[in-house]
């Protein structure tokens, strides 16, 4: 989206101008231009696509409503009138039906959950009971809302209650409400903007995925080189020790949603690794780290080197260190890396980590959970490479298997995720939602395939995606992307061979790949330059389909 900022449609039954202001003025990337729906016209705006806000072609929408306004029966409940829960359910369903209809025209729609004025205690002690409890009804309505939104892969409920908790006594704003129909204080809107921005970054593939950690007084208390691994402050019946251990647990949990861990520490490597291997209170072990640089060199250089060795860009990196001098150095040397300010007390480490809004992703896949393992097997693979006689011998011995499948409902979610997250080895860097990708691939003259990669060291999962579109006698490579974790194992050549064969089936005479440059995707250009295709311009590569393309002998292709 180079020609204009992304646009966010705000649909609300209250005065949304303050929220719009915070959204427009928020400096964090990406910049979002708010587009207003007509005040109070929630369902009409969501269902009449010829109305003005839709002519601005919004990319996203936030549909933020008050439950007593958009669910009429809930207003009756607030007056302690009897309301059948079936009626509430039906009204929630009707509202979400309108939201889901609008979602089909957007990259994504965000729906803040319904909240009440925190001062409203409803029926007091009976408020969470089934008979007339307002809080109980609201919980059920929100649960139904979130379940209904699951029907669309690009519709997301956002937890507005957390924003109110964050704002504390400033959550409600009675003065603003009665003077301007603004129901929330500034802090609520600021927290909402932060969450919406984090979600948009996640959808655009801008989530960070690599946490590089210091060790001493970051992962454990104490300096291991001074006190020895047996005497580190970690676990046990000690507030700081427990806090360090909890911090490790949260980091470990992040690895299960696809975040990779690394170490940059000024220490003797053998001493530090002995602590990780031997201290019984450690939650994180060697196998939880994709890599490390433990030495006395400059940390910024170490982080850059470590990220490069894992084929991760610096825009993926979050660096956590208790030492403000090291933080300042890395922030200065590696401006693309995120270096959050870090609390002095380890008791606050977990909340500091939880407050980072840089890991949002629209979904967690099987591949995400196995990402760290794939880096660990990568280390083993690299060790075997050093032992092998030649590159060809090594590749042959890996037992590489590539399973190719056409795009289908079974792999659509992971394929979309890969499309939106892959930066470096990505020919066109298209960013599409699941419905958009599905719709694109379904058109005549187009084909899209997923590639699963495994070898004797492990299964990397669905890590490649490629598509063709036939225009005239030419089959154009539209998407050609591969996770950097499997680069250099002839998978990329296998994908080209597959595409050339499919181009032949489509009756194409020529196959053509046009490179669309971004700040990050030079690796894919380098590949096409050495691919054997004719370089017809600086960024375009062609080949006669009749010439075929050699399938690498070290790769077994399974259809």
């Amino acid at each position: 989206m180079a020609d204009r900022n992304l646009r966010c449609l705000l649909v609300s039954d209250f005065n949304v101008a303050n929220f719009a202001g915070y959204l427009e003025n928020d400096a964090a990337e990406p910049v979002l231009d708010p587009v207003h729906g007509e005040f109070g016209q929630v369902v009409p705006v969501l269902t009449h696509f010829d109305a003005p806000p839709w002519s601005d072609a919004p990319d996203f929408a936030v549909v933020w409503t008050r439950p007593e306004k958009v669910i009429p029966s809930f207003a009756l409940l607030l007056e302690h009138r009897p309301v059948a829960h079936e009626l509430l359910d039906a009204e929630v369903d009707a509202f979400t039906h309108a939201v889901l209809g609008a979602a089909r025209r957007l990259k994504a729609v965000f729906v803040p959950t319904w909240t009440l004025d925190p001062a409203n205690r409803g029926l007091g002690m009976a408020d969470l009971r089934a008979d007339g409890g307002i809080g109980r009804a609201l919980l059920a309505m929100n649960l139904r809302l979130t379940a209904n939104l699951d029907a669309a892969p690009n519709a997301f409920a956002l937890d507005a209650q957390r924003w109110l908790v964050h704002a504390g006594r400033n959550a409600g704003a009675a003065k603003l409400w009665y003077q301007a129909k603004v129901p929330f204080g500034n802090e609520v809107f600021q927290a909402a903007v932060a969450d919406v921005k984090a979600a948009v970054r996640g959808l655009l593939g801008q989530a960070r995925k690599f946490i590089v950690l210091d060790l001493d007084d970051t992962l454990w208390g104490g300096v291991v080189g001074d006190v020895g691994w047996e005497n580190l402050q970690l676990g046990g019946h000690d507030p700081a020790g427990e806090a360090f251990q909890d911090f490790q647990r949260v980091l470990k949990a992040l690895t299960r949603r696809g975040v990779v861990l690394g170490i940059a520490s000024k220490n003797e490597e053998a001493t530090a690794l002995a602590a990780i291997r031997s201290n019984p209170e450690m939650v994180l072990r060697e196998s939880d780290f994709a890599g490390w640089r433990i030495n006395w060199d400059d940390k910024a250089a170490n982080i850059a080197d470590l990220a490069a060795s894992l084929n991760l860009g610096l825009q993926s990196v979050v660096f956590i260190d208790d030492n403000p001098v090291e933080r300042a150095r890395v922030r200065d040397a590696l401006p693309e890396a995120l270096v959050p300010e870090w609390p002095e007390s380890p008791l606050l480490y977990v909340s500091a980590l939880h407050s980072l809004r840089c890991f949002d992703a629209p979904a967690v896949s099987r591949e995400d959970g196995a990402r760290t393992k794939s880096y660990v097997t990568g280390r083993e693979r690299e060790a075997s490479r050093k032992q092998a006689g030649s590159l060809d011998d090594w590749l042959l011995g890996l037992g590489i298997m590539v399973t190719v499948e056409p795009l289908s409902q079974a792999n659509l979610r992971r394929a979309t995720q890969l499309l939106n997250k892959t930066n470096q080895f990505n020919l066109a860097t298209r960013r599409l939602t699941e419905p958009e990708l599905d719709s694109w691939a379904a058109q005549a003259g187009r084909g899209m395939w997923t590639f699963r990669v495994s070898d004797k060291f492990g299964d990397a999962g669905l890590t490649g995606l490629a598509s063709l579109e036939k225009r005239g006698t030419t089959a154009h490579v539209v998407d050609f992307l591969l996770s950097c974790r499997v680069l250099g194992r002839k998978v990329e050549e296998t994908m080209v061979a597959w595409l050339v064969a499919r181009a032949a089936e489509l009756g194409a005479v020529e196959m053509r790949a046009d490179f669309i440059a971004t700040a990050k995707n030079k690796p894919v250009l380098d590949f096409w330059r050495r691919s054997g295709f004719e370089c017809v311009s600086e960024k375009s590569f062609t080949r006669l389909v009749a010439d075929g393309y050699p399938q690498p002998g070290c790769v077994v292709v399974v259809k």
Partner: protein, 103 residues
């Protein structure tokens, strides 16, 4: 009780303007100058902008000075030009806070 310093009130009003500017479209931001027009001919602040300025100023006053004021209600009895510029608004806020403190 310490007398209320007008310079301190001006700082708090400017802090409220910072907050209001985060709520305004970029093109409508207020300049932090005593001469900035708030209402009347030549001013760019709309009714919501004025409500936000009052609300944010009240919050800053309460947070910094521990004095709870309701500027909109007090403003009804204020001189006609109280909301004309940031300077006159600061004078008005100062007088409200002084009156509140003096009971």
């Amino acid at each position: 009780m310490n007398p209320v310093d007008k310079a301190r009130i001006a700082e708090l009003v400017f802090a409220a303007v910072d907050e209001v500017n985060q709520q305004l479209p970029r093109a409508k931001r207020l300049e932090k100058s005593e001469a900035t027009l708030l209402t009347g001919e030549g001013a760019s602040l709309d009714s919501l902008g004025l409500v936000n300025l009052l609300f944010n100023t009240e919050q800053k006053i309460e947070s910094a000075l521990g004095v709870s004021v309701t500027l909109a209600e007090d403003g009804a009895a204020a001189p006609g030009d109280a909301f004309r510029t940031l300077a006159s608004f600061t004078d008005f806020v100062h007088s409200v806070v002084v009156n509140k403190r003096n009971g």
